[in-house]
């Protein structure tokens, strides 16, 4: 018998753990990057509706936060990601993806530019090994993993701006989407970016980990009458799907963790061609992506509106109702309360996008398995994209 007790695998507490423990009535925990992380707090749909109708907070302490500084920081990031980093202005955030040499997606994330030689890369999975490799050959560059030092929460939903105003963050309503703003909080610097993963009006708050609980309390105090509640991973998954955002483990498999040949994806396949800037003469994966662009991607991530109300999660897609020719698969699917539609994201072979698309949906009704074939319609706009997401000044609601 081994005396290994698995104790090192116990998830570590988030900086907000004390408060989240009180609220997580089901003890529904999973983990993200080694941090204890809520699946949900009370009820997934309740949490979802909080974000769509009032506001909610989401723990992003487990998100990786790398501070990349030095005169070569911009050059190094510009070669690593597919977007033009030199175009990001100071105190602005930018959504980016980065690829391996073959142009397959490693991860997505945001770059915050705090100064000409100061950037933050936020991403879902640890990537210090990749950053080290990417920084080789650049001399004036330092990469600091600040994940454990920073407490961060997303505050999302229509009343989120009102909450921050009520907290005393002056002029926050005039902060534009993707802007980064600084405020004083108990004599420390509170960074507030107008960013998020819900497709709604919202912000992300970043502060020294020692001030995590005071920040939480201040936000909840300010939000008390504005419908604030915490939301977990499952509600996030609903919210981001409505917004059409991709998620690792659903839409893409991180290239560095992919074993099987081409079981990872390219930005073009993920419909993220707009992030690939060929005006840049060089960036990682450019040669492969340039060829792919000429050829056209084999698959294209597509938004589908599916008839009926049975979620198409995991279903195969066909080019005809008899399901004789398979053309793709659904990566995420659900009934969308906001769009009032049966929505899905799906990987479909590009050459079949012009024709009919049918989904073979399996579902269960009290232990009995059923299947149905439903017609799918391609949607070109996000399922959920209210004007308030982009409006500046942000309204109170």
């Amino acid at each position: 018998m081994s005396d290994y007790d698995f104790s090192s695998e116990r998830p570590k507490p988030s900086h907000f753990q004390q408060r989240q423990d009180e609220l997580n009535i089901h003890d529904a925990w999973s983990s993200w990057n080694g941090y204890k992380f809520a699946e949900y707090f009370y009820d997934v749909e309740f949490e979802y509706f909080c974000v769509r109708n009032t506001c909610g907070t989401y723990d992003i302490c487990p998100m990786q936060k790398y501070h990349i500084t030095g005169a070569d920081a911009e050059k190094m990031l510009d070669r690593m990601v597919t977007r033009d980093v030199t175009k990001i202005r100071t105190n602005r955030a930018s959504y980016v993806v980065w690829c391996n040499d073959e142009g397959r997606l490693i991860d997505d994330g945001t770059i915050f530019k705090l100064g000409d030689d100061h950037f933050i890369l936020n991403c879902g999975s640890p990537c210090s090994a990749w950053l080290d490799k990417s920084a080789f050959g650049f001399h004036d560059i330092t990469i600091d993993d600040k994940t454990d030092d920073v407490a961060a929460m997303a505050l999302q939903g229509p009343t989120s701006c009102a909450v921050l105003k009520s907290m005393g963050l002056e002029n926050i309503e005039s902060a534009k989407p993707f802007s980064i703003n600084f405020f004083d909080f108990q004599n420390a610097r509170l960074m507030v970016s107008r960013t998020g993963f819900t497709g709604d009006l919202g912000y992300e708050l970043w502060i020294d980990h020692n001030l995590a609980i005071p920040l939480w309390d201040a936000v909840y105090k300010a939000g008390h009458d504005l419908g604030i509640h915490p939301y977990g991973d499952q509600a996030t998954n609903m919210l981001r799907l409505e917004a059409g955002f991709i998620m690792p483990g659903y839409e893409f498999n991180e290239a560095l963790k992919t074993v099987h040949f081409e079981h990872d994806q390219t930005p073009f396949e993920l419909n993220l061609g707009w992030l690939v800037d060929f005006k840049k003469p060089h960036f990682n994966g450019r040669r492969a992506l340039f060829d792919e662009k000429k050829r056209g991607p084999r698959y294209t991530l597509t938004k589908l509106d599916i008839e009926g109300n049975k979620p198409a999660e995991g279903s195969f897609l066909y080019s005809n109702k008899r399901c004789t020719e398979e053309i793709g698969y659904v990566t995420s699917g659900m009934w969308s309360p906001a769009a009032k539609a049966n929505i899905a994201l799906a990987m479909i072979e590009t050459k079949y996008l012009e024709g009919e698309i049918w989904s073979e949906i399996y579902y269960e009704k009290e232990l009995r398995q059923y299947s149905k074939v439903a017609r799918c319609t391609i949607k070109h706009e996000p399922f959920w994209s209210p004007a308030r997401t982009r409006a500046t000044p942000a309204a109170d609601f």
Binding site: D101, F136, N284, R287, F290
Partner: protein, 514 residues
């Protein structure tokens, strides 16, 4: 300003071979050499007034095809000499001599075994031959043409017959030590046969998995892996290549160190369009070919920022720390080795395989061998111009001298080690010490600095299975083309590798022209 078709970085023998092939196809070629003479590690230089030498003191299996194609005979390289005899020295004079097909100084049993061993290894080496003068296909490239060289290997293996095929598969991954023990009794013979497979690499007789493979690999080009010295000396090869180059209008500029490879930003991506030399001059060309080692080419001359991340990482990981030092002695007369009439040949100082292995062991931990092993050649016997009349040069490859020492390489460490080496030679040539006029030791660090090869590695990268064939120097650049359009490799860091074969230069030219 002259517009060149091709600019070649470095004027080592592979660069010159490549240049000559390109010029045969009417290309306008410029060769840029940082030092004052062409030839790289095969160039000769004066290490003491009146005494000259080159780091490569023999020519190892230089391709006969190149010799013919470039008509080197017309350029003064008269027929290459026969392979040098190999002599495993014995202190009492009971040497073991390998000369052509015959071996002397051993028992009748060993003699018979040697005949059998030679036949077997020759057949097996022949298997690997199809890979030499060809570009090794990239994995994933399934074009019929490219797959033919693999098919050729398969057919050749099949034609071996069942018994030989089994035997090939058995011994190809053996440590040489085990193979020698199977065949021979005499410790000197075993040490001698190991040596030519191991020289220049980070392996010893007991190294697992590929030391026999390495030996066969080097035998496969011909010459059974033996070394030679052309009439008039090793430098004749370089002279002939330069003379041929000149006759074809190739421009060779010495004292022209390339600072960087110039990269142009184009719609299709980056492209190498020229080089900048140390005086700031920019020279543009259609193709840039580098005979510098892969680390220097990609990481120093090009810069990681112009490459992709995984590729850069593979280049960075190339194992290229040299493990051979070079000893040069200026002698006032011909050295007298006990019991040896003629000191012409490759003379090995190592009583047995265990001594080679022990020397290797110490080097792993950053120490110079307590009991050094070396190969001695007296190049001035073949090329009298290397020393004043009646005087001679002793040149020795001292194996297993680490690049990274536990304590630093400094003058004291060098002097102590030279003394140790002379003591060692003295055991076999008792009067050597009185004959010494001057001495020079080049550690791997010296080789790195003087000849601009990363790690001071002769072969620009370790000779090991993970860095051979389509892995040399790494995938993405193993077909002489590189990820950067317009940039090619033609040096020892490319397939088939180091030694003075000329084959990387030959193969690179073929790719550039195709």
């Amino acid at each position: 300003m002259t517009q060149y078709d091709t600019v070649i970085i470095g004027a080592g023998h592979n660069a010159l071979v490549c240049a000559n092939y390109l010029a045969q196809k009417k290309q306008k070629v410029l060769v840029l050499e940082a030092s004052s003479a062409a030839g790289g590690l095969a160039s000769s230089y004066e290490f003491h007034p009146g005494f000259r030498t080159s780091v490569a003191h023999t020519v190892s299996h230089f391709s006969r095809k190149i010799y013919r194609d470039l008509e080197l005979q017309k350029h003064g390289l008269t027929a290459m000499a026969n392979p040098l005899p190999c002599v495993a020295l014995n202190r009492q004079g009971n040497h073991v001599v390998l000369d052509g097909d015959t071996v002397s100084g051993v028992t009748e049993k060993d003699r018979v075994s040697y005949a059998n061993y030679s036949k077997l290894t020759e057949r097996f080496a022949n298997l690997l031959a199809p890979f030499w003068l060809k570009t090794v296909p990239a994995i994933g490239n399934n074009s019929l043409h490219e797959l033919l060289s693999f098919a050729q290997l398969g057919v050749k293996m099949r034609m071996l017959g069942k018994d030989d095929m089994r035997e090939f598969l058995r011994i190809v991954s053996l440590p040489t030590h085990d193979l020698m023990d199977e065949y021979f009794d005499h410790p000197l013979l075993k040490a001698l046969l190991c040596w030519n497979g191991l020289i220049g690499s980070k392996q010893a007789p007991r190294s697992p998995n590929n030391s026999v493979m390495l030996m066969l690999y080097r035998m496969s080009e011909g010459m059974s892996g033996l070394h030679e010295i052309p009439n008039g000396g090793t430098s004749r090869l370089i002279d002939a290549l330069c003379s041929s180059a000149k006759s074809q209008g190739i421009e060779i500029r010495t004292n022209s160190s390339v600072r960087r490879i110039v990269v142009d930003q184009q719609k299709e991506g980056l492209r190498a369009t020229g080089v900048q030399v140390d005086n700031g001059e920019l020279i543009s060309a259609q193709n840039i070919v580098s005979s510098a080692d892969p680390k220097t080419t990609f990481l120093t001359l090009l810069g990681a920022e112009n490459l992709e991340i995984e590729f850069t990482n593979r280049i960075r990981r190339i194992r290229s720390e040299g493990l051979v030092a070079k000893l040069h002695l200026a002698l006032n007369g011909l050295p007298q080795f006990t019991g040896l009439d003629q000191s012409d040949g490759q003379l090995l100082i190592s009583p047995d395989m265990a001594t080679i292995e022990s020397a290797f062991d110490e080097s792993k931990y950053g120490q110079c061998p307590t009991d050094p092993v070396m190969e001695i050649v007296i190049p001035s016997m073949r090329d009298p111009s290397l020393a004043p009349s009646g005087q001679h040069v002793l040149s020795a490859h001292v194996m297993y001298v680490p690049y990274k020492m536990k304590s630093q390489w400094d003058q004291t460490a060098i002097d102590t080690f030279i003394d140790k080496l002379i003591n060692k030679i003295e055991l076999y040539a008792p009067t050597i010490r009185e004959q010494i006029v001057a001495s020079e030791l080049l550690t791997p660090i010296d080789l790195e600095q003087r000849f601009r090869t990363s790690g001071g590695h002769w072969h620009h990268g370790e000779f090991a299975l993970d860095q051979l064939f389509m892995m040399r120097p790494t995938y993405g650049a193993a077909q002489y083309q590189t990820p950067l359009r317009g940039l090619y490799l033609c040096g020892a860091g490319s397939h088939p590798g180091g030694d003075i074969t000329g084959v990387p230069g030959h193969n690179a030219a073929h790719e550039i022209l195709s």
